[in-house]
């Protein structure tokens, strides 16, 4: 199983770890882990397009969270006019999930006053699961490759 899939499975485990009274630590780590599942899925997909296999791990280090988020916010609000609406819908699912989880991961990791509930966390994880499904539906399409490029190329 790929690293991203393992992280998604770990997020689900953390979200359900205490059946009666979930600990805030488990819920926060679940949100953070779900974010990283999507983050690593996209990085691994972008890196796999790099021709020289020995350089892929170094290539993966060029990605920045904030730039990936800015690209995702743009994609989430785009109409992709003229393109296939189904493919555009899948890409928007991925981009919206990234944008939501980017924001919520910061809250989960750094805002100690924020309280999380299990339903909140399960819906975040579901969003990432849905993004995985959508990504696999379009991963070989031009629209997906353009998005991957936008995740690390500075907008001019």
């Amino acid at each position: 199983m790929a690293f991203a899939d393992d992280l998604l499975e770990q997020a689900k485990h953390l979200a359900r770890r205490e059946p009666k009274r979930p600990r805030q630590a488990s819920l926060r780590r679940a949100v953070s882990t779900a974010y990283y599942a999507l983050f690593h899925l996209l990085i691994s997909e972008a890196s796999s397009n790099w021709k020289i296999a020995a350089q892929r791990a170094r290539f993966a280090r060029i990605f920045e969270h904030s730039r990936m988020n800015a690209a995702s916010v743009r994609a989430a609000g785009s109409s992709f006019s003229g393109g296939d609406p189904a493919k555009a819908g899948h890409l928007r699912n991925v981009a919206r999930a990234f944008s939501q989880l980017y924001e919520d991961r910061r809250v989960a990791d750094y805002d100690t006053a924020a309280q999380w509930s299990r339903v909140e966390v399960l819906t975040e994880i579901d969003l990432v699961e849905q993004a995985f499904v959508s990504w696999h539906a379009i991963r070989n399409q031009a629209i997906a490759n353009d998005y991957l490029l936008s995740l690390f190329v500075r907008e001019r």
Binding site: N69, V73, G77, E103, D104, S117, L122, D126
Partner: protein, 121 residues
């Protein structure tokens, strides 16, 4: 009226127009959310929202959707939250209608009864 006074007056008009546009936009947004809340009953108990900035400093709208306990059951949660998200993105479309990046969080009624967070009340 001198040029400076005229510019100041123009600026005042433009600021006031911005305020009116903002108020009109926020009223329109609140009406759209109230309408959505009605359409989503009884699964959705209420939708609260806050307009502000996200962690990147972008204008954003934060939705807090309180679900009924029935809608929060494992066999229904996915279907209900997907429906809410789709309607928010299609009908309200905060990015293209108001320039706001949307964020949605969901909580069940019994969870809120325990956590008692005013922002969700």
């Amino acid at each position: 009226m001198g040029r400076r006074a005229s510019e100041a007056s123009d600026n005042k008009v433009s600021v006031m127009q911005g305020v009116f546009k903002g108020v009109a936009q926020s009223e329109k947004l609140a009406a759209a959310i109230a309408n959505l809340e009605l359409r989503l009953r009884p699964d959705v108990v209420r939708i609260r929202h806050t307009v502000g900035e996200d962690s990147s400093g972008q204008p954003a709208i934060f939705f807090r959707v309180l679900l009924s306990d029935r809608a929060s059951r494992p066999d229904r949660l996915r279907q209900v939250t997907r429906k809410v998200r789709n309607l928010v993105f299609q009908d309200i479309d905060p990015v293209n209608s108001c320039g706001l990046v949307p964020y949605l969080r969901f909580r069940s009624q019994s969870e809120q009864a325990e956590l008692k967070e005013p922002a969700w009340a």
